[in-house]
Amino acid sequence: MNEPVTNVLFAGIGGQGIIKASDMLTEAAFRMGCDVKKSELHGMSQRGGSVSSDVRFGKKVYSPMIPRGEADYLIAVSEDQIEVCAGTLRKNAVIIRPSDIDPADASSRMLNIAMLGRLNRHLKFPETLWVEIIRESFPAEIAEENIAAFRRAAGGKE
């Protein structure tokens, strides 16, 4: 049998930073020493259509697409995409919704990063790794705000 793989599905609409957040998780998993694969559908997504991105990591990952019924986590940056993604989720999948993020903790522009923080309550990757990746992913003037949003969302229990 193949080794178990962690599957994180990101979903939202064009312009919400789905691709960026999933790229950052991919990089984090890679630097944790995992094999990792990520795939997404874009093209027409820039025009306000649905965007989803699959991130898979573990000892060895084959398909870049999360098989139906195997997503462990759903990061639903847009609430209305939860139903669209239902078929991909495992029975007891963890769903992270916009309502899980206190609006005081992160502006809507940083929702994607705050949701990564929330996800890290489960993944427990070192915070220093995330800080490093956020700094590499954003211009200096907004990196610190994003780090703060990540930290506020990451604090607390699963």
Binding site: V36, M44, R47, G49, Y62, P64, M65
Partner: protein, 527 residues
């Protein structure tokens, strides 16, 4: 050899390999999912340029290869239809410097008008095809493709698919980079001038070359086996389908083909002999299965249901189980639409309100088909709006013919609309015709690429802009107007009405920049 491990998309991996092996020039036309190859190649220091269309891109690549240097030519699958004319004779002439053509196929049509499988082109035009299955292979196979191209003096087709182009996975990069070189010019009339006398010999030479390539492929490590020596069932697969197969059937006996044309039939026969039954798992047409069966080797092709759409792990499980029960329908997501503030909106409102019959084209403006506009009547391929619009004018009764408008974007117009204007002037329909060029100053749908009319190169440096109005006038259109359809909407509506009422061959350039492009340019300037 120094190495570096990074996570890359398949497209980025191809670009990194091109830079590492000294590609002198990358050419192409933007098309999802291939666009990022040249963008990344340029970003990391390679010389890359957008061509007006894929045919020109390949022709420029051919010249680079005749000069003895390496060229990379990229396009989406349908782009190869445009470039097919040079391709089919390029295989006769062969190349001096390595030439790799990337065809990014789109099974499942995430962003395309059809699902064509371009491996069929390799068999028809007689050139080798490589199918990488992830980013690591996209990198390695690109390096190998350039080496093979020069060893056999043949162009090589690198067939990618959406899930290879747009997926990310770890790649080991070599740190050493070759410097692009050109060699002294070598004149060889018999090899390069395809008049019948020379082409007859070249065709035979090509046949022998393909035989030699097939022998090469028999021993190539581009093809790999996995699992036990023998098993009840074997699987032959390639590309992304290999990855799905490894997950759908853990531990299975698998022959993964990296070079899928010309096929290594002896190696395949040997593999097939090790199992009672061998199933071919492939995305797109039943290309491998068809060729292998034709060669008298007993394999099972996939069921017809899997000709449609992408494969994934669940579908490969069904394919292997010969389970033809209906598949669960995917829940529809939110459809794309014209952005709020998009300059095309006013155009389609006008065409809808005037009850026009709209011959459409390929680009963001194809979204004019969506409610609340419902204002596109047909969309076939790049540039078809003008020819098909003229055909509608010829074919419809006068009252309806007068409602026909062709709608085409600036980049698509440069790609293949110019000859349409020539046709309109040369064979003007009795009712005349109206072509609307929607000039939003960018190639928007594929992600805001430059084109000859924007006056900027791929790397944003300035060049002479193509003057669309001057070109249309020079071709001989009866009238050419330029108007902003949003800022002067009443003027635009009145102008369209007036041109439709006339029997002239008219062009209206509806000019207003894409709102996303305006933002991008402001950002670029700030940096």
């Amino acid at each position: 050899m120094a190495e570096k491990r990074v996570v890359l998309s398949g497209d980025e991996a191809v670009a990194e390999a091109a830079l590492a092996c000294g590609v002198m020039l990358g050419t192409g036309y933007p098309g999802t999912p291939s666009t990022e190859i040249l963008e990344h190649f340029s970003a990391i220091g390679g010389k890359a340029q957008w061509s007006p269309n894929e045919k020109v891109a390949l022709e420029v690549g051919i010249g680079v290869a005749f000069a003895g240097a390496r060229s990379l030519v990229t396009m989406k699958h349908v782009g190869l239809n445009v470039a097919a004319d040079p391709l089919f004779t390029l295989t006769y002439t062969g190349v001096e410097g390595g030439l790799v053509v990337v065809s990014a196929d789109d099974p499942g049509m995430a962003s395309s008008q059809n699902e064509q499988d371009n491996r069929l082109y390799a068999a028809a035009a007689h050139l080798p095809v490589f199918e990488p299955s992830d980013s690591r292979e996209a990198y390695d196979f690109t390096l190998r493709a350039f080496a093979l191209s020069e060893e056999f003096h043949t162009p090589v087709l690198l067939r990618m698919t959406t899930r290879v182009c747009h997926s990310r996975s770890p790649v080991t990069l070599r740190e050493e980079k070759e410097t692009p070189v050109s060699k002294p010019y070598r004149k060889n009339i018999q090899e390069r001038v395809m008049v019948p006398a020379f082409a007859k010999k070249a065709h035979v030479t090509l046949f022998r070359k393909m035989e030699a390539l097939a022998r090469w492929n028999e021993k190539s490590d581009l093809n790999q086996t996995f699992g036990p020596e023998t098993a009840e069932r074997g699987i032959i697969t390639s590309g992304a389908a290999f990855q799905h197969s490894m997950e759908a059937a853990p531990g299975a006996r698998i022959l993964k083909l990296g070079m899928t044309w010309p096929l290594p039939f002896e190696a395949i026969a040997k593999f097939v002999a090790g199992s009672k039954r061998t199933v071919v798992v492939e995305e797109g047409e039943k290309f491998l299965a068809g060729k292998i069966l034709e060669h008298g080797i007993p394999v099972e092709p996939k069921a017809d249901a899997f000709l449609f759409g992408e494969l994934d792990v669940a579908r490969v499980k069904k394919l292997l189980a010969r389970d033809e029960s209906p598949e669960p329908a995917a829940k529809p997501g939110r459809p794309p639409q014209l952005c709020p503030g998009c300059p095309h909106r006013k155009v389609f409102e006008t065409l809808r309100d005037l009850g026009c019959i709209v011959s459409g084209d390929i680009g963001c403006y194809t979204l004019g088909v969506m409610p609340p506009f419902d204002a596109i009547d047909s969309c076939v391929c790049m540039g078809a709006s003008i020819g098909a619009g003229l055909g509608l004018r010829h074919g419809l009764a006068e009252a309806e013919a007068r409602k026909v408008v062709s709608v085409i974007g600036d980049s698509t117009f440069v790609h293949s609309g110019l000859t349409g204007i020539v046709e309109m002037v040369y064979n003007k329909p009795a009712t005349g015709h109206l072509v609307l060029i929607l000039d939003n100053a960018t190639t928007a749908m594929t992600g805001l690429q430059e084109n000859p009319a924007t006056g900027r190169h791929l790397d944003m440096s300035e060049t002479t802009p193509l003057n669309l109005a001057a070109v249309c006038k020079a071709i001989g259109a009866d009238s050419v107007d330029v108007i902003d359809p949003t800022a002067d909407n009443p003027g635009f509506v009145a102008l369209v009405k007036e041109r439709l009422a006339s029997s002239d061959a008219s062009v209206i350039i509806a000019r207003r920049p894409c709102i996303l492009q305006v933002k991008k340019l402001a950002k670029t300037k700030k940096q």
